[in-house]
């Protein structure tokens, strides 16, 4: 193993204080431009994000983590992350109510279904599978995407409760 390779392998450990350079190694670093450049790269790499870490509110994060762990159904932050989802769903419900105020089925080829799908499904497609599962868990029993296909079957009270629950 060349001296350059040996130094390269030890740079991380020296940077993090687990090792020290010997006099011979120091002399090599002073004379080998390639090793000196690598040493600068490693030392700079060790400093990346130092300012971010210094401003991270660690105690606050710890408090929120513990609070979220106490609430297995999900923290408010999780819900806040998906609040945007409430808007297209609520809009779809409102459109369905306007188009079919009597609550009956659409007279021509499921127009309400198309409205709901156009408004909601593109949003769902951008979610990771795990995120989608979380959304489904958060929604009330009758508010899942499958139920959106039958908004016309909901009563006014049920639609109001659905919108209220989605809007928090």
């Amino acid at each position: 193993m060349s001296e350059c390779t040996q130094l390269s392998d030890r740079m991380a450990a020296v940077t993090h204080g687990r090792n020290e350079w010997s006099a011979t190694e120091k002399a090599h670093l002073a004379s080998c431009a390639d090793c000196a450049a690598e040493w600068r790269v490693v030392q700079s790499g060790a400093m990346i994000g130092a300012e971010v870490a210094a401003t991270l509110p660690v105690d606050f994060v710890a408090t929120r983590v513990v609070a979220a762990l106490k609430d297995p159904a999900g923290s408010r932050r999780w819900w806040a992350r998906f609040r945007w989802f409430a808007l297209p769903v609520a809009a779809a419900a409102a459109v369905a109510l306007v188009v079919f105020p009597g609550g009956g089925p659409p007279s021509q080829g499921g127009t309400a279904t198309e409205v709901a799908e156009v408004s909601v499904l593109p949003e769902l497609e951008s979610l990771e599978a795990s995120d989608l599962e979380l959304v489904l868990e958060l929604l009330p029993d009758r508010a899942g995407p499958v139920e959106i296909r039958s908004f016309e079957e909901l009563t006014d009270d049920e639609v109001t409760r659905l919108i209220n629950s989605l809007e928090g």
Binding site: A37, S44, V52, L69, S75
Partner: protein, 182 residues
């Protein structure tokens, strides 16, 4: 008896066990112990500064909720970094199109700095910018090695690769970064 680290603090494994037994203070200690390092890694890996806090929080929540899946072959820290890396990937997919690493004004060399400090700061800026251009595994291996001081076997466990592959990724990354500061 709770296993102690050399400094007399409880080990991560002991704290995990205590948390699983219902001691919430153990979770707080683990977050305090690892949050800053995790935040630095996530930032270096490309998380925007404003997203780091949330990603750190999500990583710990996911880690604690999935502790049954931690077999103890990897350290708690490298397991955390693995979860954090995956969450950052998900975050990047959602935010696709954004700049990977954003340099802040505070990262730029100040004209009032002594020359040596200014050069070091300029090198740091180039390294940060260069990291953003590296493939993900090269970037993350470099960070775990240079920023976090991990050995290759621990890096391999954190990133789901082999120690040999981690060594190759590291050397490719260093070669590219050296060219940037030449």
């Amino acid at each position: 008896m709770i296993e102690l680290q050399p400094a007399g603090d409880p080990s991560d494994a002991a704290l995990v066990g205590a948390w699983q037994a219902g001691d919430q203070r153990a979770a707080t200690i683990l977050v305090r112990r690892h949050a800053a390092a995790l935040g630095r890694f996530l930032y270096g890996a490309g998380a925007p500064p404003e997203a780091v806090e949330d990603l750190v929080q999500e990583t710990f929540i996911k880690a604690f909720r999935g502790l049954d899946g931690w077999r103890g072959e990897a350290s708690f820290r490298s397991w955390l970094f693995r979860i954090g890396s995956n969450l950052r990937k998900d975050h990047f997919r959602r935010e696709r199109g954004r700049q990977v690493v954003q340099l802040e004004d505070t990262d730029l060399p100040s004209a009032a700095d002594p020359q040596g400090e200014a050069e070091a700061s300029e090198t740091g800026c180039r390294i940060e910018g260069g990291l953003a251009t590296l493939p993900r595994l090269q970037r993350e291996v470099f960070l775990l090695r240079a920023q976090q001081g991990m050995e290759y076997d621990e890096i391999a466990l954190a990133l789901g690769t082999t120690a040999g592959a981690a060594r190759v990724h590291y050397h490719h990354a260093v070669k590219r970064l050296k060219e940037l500061i030449a």
